[in-house]
Amino acid sequence: MEWKREWKPLAAIVTVFVSCYYLPIGYDRFDNALSEALHLVKWYAREHVLLCLVPAFFIAGAIAVFVSQASILKYLGATANKVIAYGVASISGTVLAVCSCTILPLFAGIYKMGAGLGPATAFLYAGPAINILAIILTARILGPEIGFARAFGAIFFSIIIGLLMHFIFLREEREKAAVQAAMPEEEVTRPLWQNALYFFTMIGILVFANWGSPEEQTGLWHLIYNNKWLIASLFAIALSIILMSWYNLPKWQVIFAATPSVVLAFAVGNHPTIAFVAAVIGLSVLISRREDETGEWFRESWGFAKQILPLLLFGVLVAGILLGRPGNEGLVPSEWVSRAVGGNSLLANFAASFAGAFMYFATLTEVPILQGLIGNGMGKGPALALLLAGPALSLPNMLVIRTIMGTKKTIVFVALVIIMATISGYLYGMFY
């Protein structure tokens, strides 16, 4: 017996056996937590995947293909106007990096080859926080106010953090970049307004398909709610026309792809989701085999779906087991949560901020976890603090950043993020 090699399978078997032997099933709290986790997954699948995530993946894919990185990187290069660089760096996270692994090379590039430490750290902080998928899901599940606060807080404070980093390390010499930055080639340019309208129709579909039912039974909001599918359909028709006119999709193919959806919209009008799914399938069939930009659009969107759905499923299960559905409990008693991060004290905000900075949140998983925490008594202020510090940083992430800008700068950066997140949370908690 080669014990040197065989100890591993033995250890695995023993561990699994002991876990099964001592499985806490039968204890109320555990059974309840399991049930909560499964209920939560079902709720997500029913309420958010089809109408919210699927369009969001298409939008993210479109951004990856149709937004010209080169035109943005011009503002972040070595010769760029430094003042503008901060603004661009803080906002560009929405369009430059939907994948979290793209942030680090961009950060390294902007720091070493481009506009320098200030704009680079502004981008490093804002990028993950305002990734388009995260904003959409945050607004949808946690509410538009906190979604907006997250985006605004990330952008605003990233500029401040960038500036502070710049001034704190002003005296340090940075090696002049000897190599010219390699710009990605300019692709076929469609007039900006055409691209903008294209995005606008998709965002329109996303917003109106997900329009929530308001409290009052009268008024504009309610009127919109009653007609949301009609409005969403109008946007869908607009999108089809745009795809036919400006994106080179053959007219008869588009009409053919749209027909099942239109038929179902009238046949099963009280279940608009069915027509919606048919439309998504139609669009996918239409573009997935193509070799041009629309084909690339599909491949990018599909790439995001493959990457993110398993992570989100995992995040929802973890949130469900630990925290339960909103209003319920999981393994963690709510008193622990309210004691640690309830209310809006500076300490609560700091605790949330600190934990968030070191904890690793896979893309989008911060949303179900935060939903669970808020449902268990976390204050709105600390919630925002966690949203601002969590996705942007984690311990593994800090170690990589350290290899790019060194230990001292990394420590200062992390400290600044935690402080800014704490302050933002505190201010938000005061007004909401």
Binding site: C99, C101, P105, L106, A182, T403
Partner: protein, 76 residues
């Protein structure tokens, strides 16, 4: 021919590496293929965005996975 593929190790970078290897085999060209994962080195080549493909010192593709057709064109 010296081919460098820049990327920290995410799926897109692996995809780019795989396509480059297949293209090199198909074209029967002699080439050394190297994966660069260190961010400082990547930034040193002037690359801001991964995956990126550099052939004989020239940056051919930045920020997306190149198609095999494109790679074959570059190495022939």
């Amino acid at each position: 021919m010296d081919i460098k593929i820049c990327g920290p190790g995410c799926t897109k970078c692996h995809e780019a590496e795989r396509l480059v290897k297949e293209a090199v085999e198909e074209a029967k060209v002699k080439a050394t293929i190297e994966k660069v994962t260190d961010f400082n080195a990547i930034a040193g080549y002037g690359v801001f965005s991964t995956p990126a493909v550099i052939i004989d010192g020239q940056v051919k593709c930045v920020g997306k996975v190149p198609s095999k057709k494109d790679i074959l064109e570059w190495i022939r």
